[in-house]
Symmetry: C2
Amino acid sequence: MAASDGTTERIRDAAIARFGRDGFGAGLRAVAADAGVTAGLVVHHFGSKERLRQACDEHVLAVMREQKTKALTDGTAGMLMAQLAEVEQYAPIVLYLLRSLQAGGELAVALIEQMTADAEEYLAAGEAAGVVRPSKDPAARTRYLAYQSAGGMLLWFTLHGSTADDDAFAASFRRYVEEIAPPALELFTQGLLVDRSMLDDFLMYVPDPPADER
Amino acid sequence: MAASDGTTERIRDAAIARFGRDGFGAGLRAVAADAGVTAGLVVHHFGSKERLRQACDEHVLAVMREQKTKALTDGTAGMLMAQLAEVEQYAPIVLYLLRSLQAGGELAVALIEQMTADAEEYLAAGEAAGVVRPSKDPAARTRYLAYQSAGGMLLWFTLHGSTADDDAFAASFRRYVEEIAPPALELFTQGLLVDRSMLDDFLMYVPDPPADER
DNA sequence: TGCGTGATTGAACAAGCGTTTAACGTAGGT
DNA sequence: ACCTACGTTAAACGCTTGTTCAATCACGCA
């Protein structure tokens, strides 16, 4: 995993892995044990648990920016992280990112912002190439797509992604992308509603659907 | 809401409100104080914190089913909860549901299942009425839409929904729905991609990627 | 050689957690 | 009037948490 194997970096990486696995409620002693040190040393190096998490955030953010996201958000967004997770070494970082999304905080906001920025660029390029339809409000569309795809991924992770093993996680991730890709592409190519003229009907249809029983 | 104002129900409602506000990490003493009792009495009535949460889950689930979800998942899914949150008295329950989605667990799965079932029914009705396009895999499409919309809502709540006040929460919720509705409708009516080439490429590629195990 | 500085440990601490226990008060039944 | 059962409280217990502290270890430098 690179990063000179100094003790500080080793603790930081152990914290990323442990927080990704168990969430930020994980104790300092567990992190310390993973790194082969004591709890006292952790706080000696980082000052406090919160500053440890800040260090983790910064490192993850640095890796993210370094990867330069050649992987585009294709609208499903899972592709981006799936590609990362496939490289086995990045699975802990992807897990940590998902935990951050789950917990909120600055890193989560930064993640969504970067995803949105990437999607914006990607969609604009697609539009220029004549592949993507123009939008009445491109920024709103981009934000909507980013939230939906990242949120869907987060929800999937919360409900079914609580796997302990990194490889199993990557495999599960691949399965998720494969599952959502077909309906996503279908929606993106043909839409959901028959045509534009139905929009008003749709809006009036929404308040009360056919009162079928069940 | 109501429920006879017995002490047990009062504690349960206080727990729903407190868990919704602070998450499930909230302490029993805080719940007890909200209900005007002591921590010991809470466990005397419910046995343990986990069983208290189970009682909360069951009650919330009962209210959900009782409301009969005339509010459909219109694909944005937020509509459902927004309509609920508008009735001020249901705001705590909606908050509790979001916390459950955030934490995972049985209630979260049940919520998504119910949303999916409602969406299935609604989409089938729309398709029969000629408003909704047919899908190659309707179940997959429904699941995809449910996860995306519920997940987007969850993510929004995690990042920006940490409001303390119930009314402010309902108002914020309304704003969220208003923000995502236009791009959602645009996507649903016109799609995102101009032609089917991407879908065709994908469908030809997907049948056999490197034959991984499973 | 000796000194000193930083890494590292193990123990201790205070606070919070969920839970247990003993006691008290009060109402109802016989 | 006694006894019982139950609602309720306050205190304590055991555990875990993050953090602090003193002591130990190792190594670079004079």
